[in-house]
């Protein structure tokens, strides 16, 4: 009989329409019923995937071979789609369709969990963008074009005349573009607002508000588009949260999912007042990370710090437990020794310190900067002492400084190697290990206040527990082996068992 096989073909066509490619923009939410257990499993597995992406992104150069291999094995383990497959080959395990459906649904579930705060959104967007970038790069060039057209990214190309006129400029401004590239490839004229990453790094030719992008680089545009769409979508999702949270089945799960990401942000002050101002000098020598030590020293020497330094150091001090009154006294007494008189301090600087503690303006309680923030944003310029020394100092000056702090020559070399490989947090961790005389720090450094807490713990003779209690928010670790991911699995699964 004809009917069964025709029906099967119809179903396959419908499936192809829905999930024609292994990646998508997630423009349409899924509209089907799924079981609660599928809801949970899908969400947890995507979260594992995103956390792997985060960890790998810190330890390896993105798009390098190591990165790709590790990420691919994760895709395979968790059954997520990442590249076109030959349908005719025999599949074991879930079908490609099932993987893509899971990809679709799990993304939207995590949107619910991660739309609630600025920090959560930023993290979610960052990992989803990295995920998207990886999978887009895996597509063949024909499939890339197909993706662009499916998603309505139509930019105009420039004609041969214009290409000839702009030849020199295009070659000298665009990355990896030669005269031949200009001749052979299409160049797209894109409004600069749609290509901010290329503009920001000056990797493209910009004229009269338009950037000229070779076809090979269209990925950046696509990624920007993805990021913008996701950002807007999250804002919208946040508005419908109250309804979602009123469903008792979903609320505990969503809460747990969003806490699973957040490493400690040190915004809730513990130990307020346990530190006295007299202790700060000695603490800075023993337990401050290099960035804060530098700021403290510069403050003592110059009796001043510029805004970037005041923010980075001031919030750190808040994180270690300084009260507002102590902070005001600390900064005031130091600034007075310099060119600022008491009156001027009260008028100009006291306001911003109170602001840090949430007592002015928006009354937002500002959180101490994480390593990522220190490394990536708020670049120091002339007259500044903030930033991350492993990232922002000249290697020569860094070396001298480490020598002054009595780090062994071999230790210094190890640190400089890590710096060369752009592993700034690992370099700082190595610095911790060398200055505290331990083989292994036993934690994965991602926050200056974390450095301080771990240092104090070590110095007061506390035993470092390798296992974490379920209540403590899970910190991300830099994976040195595949061991890391099972730990994530363990924590998340055990929570579910308890619930």
């Amino acid at each position: 009989m004809q009917f069964p096989s025709r029906r099967k073909r119809l179903i396959n066509n419908a499936q192809e329409e829905m999930y024609g490619q292994p990646i998508q923009f997630y423009g349409q939410p899924p509209i089907e019923n799924i079981s609660l257990s599928e809801f949970e499993t899908f969400a947890v597995e995507r979260l594992k995937l995103l956390k792997t992406i985060e960890n790998l992104g810190v330890s390896y150069v993105k798009q390098s071979e190591h990165y790709a291999r590790k990420l691919e094995s994760e895709f395979k383990n968790l059954h997520f789609p990442y590249r076109e497959v030959d349908d005719r080959k025999v599949q074991t395990g879930p079908s490609e369709f099932e993987k893509r459906r899971k990809d679709h649904i799990s993304h939207f579930i995590l949107r619910l969990a991660y739309c609630q705060t600025e920090d959560l959104r930023r993290w979610f967007i960052q990992q989803e963008v990295d995920l998207f970038r990886f999978r887009f790069n895996e597509l063949g060039s024909k499939q890339k074009l197909e993706f662009l057209h499916r998603n309505n990214l139509q930019y105009d190309t420039i004609n041969v005349e214009e290409k000839k006129t702009l030849l020199d400029k295009l070659v000298s401004s665009s990355y990896a573009v030669s005269g031949i590239t200009v001749e052979e490839q299409d160049f797209y004229k894109v409004p600069f607002q749609d290509a901010l990453d290329l503009v920001r790094t000056r990797k493209v030719y910009l004229k009269a508000g338009y950037v000229y992008i070779p076809h090979q680089d269209i990925i950046t545009i696509v990624i920007n588009d993805f990021r913008t769409r996701l950002s807007k979508a999250l804002a919208l999702t946040a508005r419908s949260l109250p309804i979602v949270h009123s469903d008792e089945r979903l609320q505990p799960l969503l809460n747990h999912l969003s806490h699973a990401y957040v490493g400690q942000d040190y915004s809730i002050q513990k130990n307020v007042g346990k530190i006295s101002l007299e202790q700060i000098d000695s603490l800075s020598g023993k337990s401050f990370p290099l960035c804060m030590k530098q700021l403290h020293q510069s403050l003592r020497e110059n009796h001043h710090l510029r805004h970037g330094g005041r923010m980075q150091y001031g919030l750190f001090l808040k994180g270690i437990g300084l009260s507002l009154e102590q902070a005001l006294q600390f900064w005031r007494s130091e600034f007075i020794r310099g060119k600022v008189d008491a009156d001027k301090f009260d008028k100009q600087y006291a306001y911003s310190i109170r602001h840090m503690f949430g007592k002015e303006g928006r009354r937002a309680d500002y959180t101490p900067y994480s390593c990522m923030k220190v490394i990536l944003s708020n670049m120091p310029s002339q007259g500044d002492y903030h930033g991350c020394p492993f990232r922002h100092s000249d290697p020569e000056l860094l070396k001298q400084k480490l020598q002054v702090y009595k780090v062994s020559p071999s230790g210094i070399n190890q640190i400089l190697e890590l710096v060369k490989g752009m592993h700034y947090q690992l370099a700082c961790q190595k610095y911790f290990e060398l200055t505290h005389n331990v083989e292994d720090a036993n934690f994965s450094l991602n926050h200056p206040n974390q450095y301080f807490v771990e240092s104090q713990r070590l110095l007061s003779g506390g035993v470092r527990e390798p296992k974490r209690e379920p209540e403590t928010p899970h910190k991300t670790k830099a994976p040195s082996a595949a061991v890391e991911v099972p730990e994530v699995i363990e924590d998340l699964d055990s929570f579910f068992q308890d619930a």
């Binding site: 401004s173 901010l196 000056r202 500044d384 000249d394 020569e396």
Partner: protein, 255 residues
Amino acid sequence: MPVSDYDQASLPDLLPLYYRRLFPFAQYYRWLHYGGVHKNYFQNREFSFTLKDDIYVRYQSFTTQSELEKEMQKMNPYKIDIGAVYSHRPNQHNTVKSGSFQALEKELVFDIDMTDYDDVRSCCSAADICSKCWTLMTIAIRILDRALREDFGFQHLLWVYSGRRGIHCWVCDEAARKLSVTARSAVAEYLSLVKGGEETLKKVILSDPIHPFIKESLLVVERYFTRYALHDQEILSRKETLDKVLALVPEDILL
């Protein structure tokens, strides 16, 4: 202007005169009104004033030019800040449901402060300026003006002296007013070349090939460099600055 002529204590006497006779209210209003194309654009604009004794008042807004005039003549501000255009009248922001009161548009503003150049000028420091170091400002203006117009396509630029030791550039094109926060930082980074704090010796690193923006900017710098650096600042005449210059030269050239 010789520093000794200006005396802050005389401001309470002079400012009322200034605001009655000299302040260009008509042009100010005409600018910020933007032709009335957008409804309530002027009415929803925030102004903030710094008054005598460092009193700072925010969320001022006005419905007409005359209201603005009267208020400024009453308050005699020492400093005026033009804020963003909001979703509602700033002076009524407390009556708006929390979360609804938002900044919608703002010009793209560049603020260049002479102290950012303290490491390359020796004639003055901090708040002092003179005609020797002001050349740095000229160079900066020419570089920025060209880039904003030719590279970014902006057309409506307002360059003003900030009042103390620098300049502001207000980019007023519609596209500029609508720029997102990320876009603004991208524009700023495109225009930035000097990176690094006190711990960085070589703050500018150029690679081959040179991006057209840098090439054009270098053309500007070259017009002024000899007079500014060699004659006025005499960087090769003093050991201290000579050493700094030598530290920037790549090793292989010295050998």
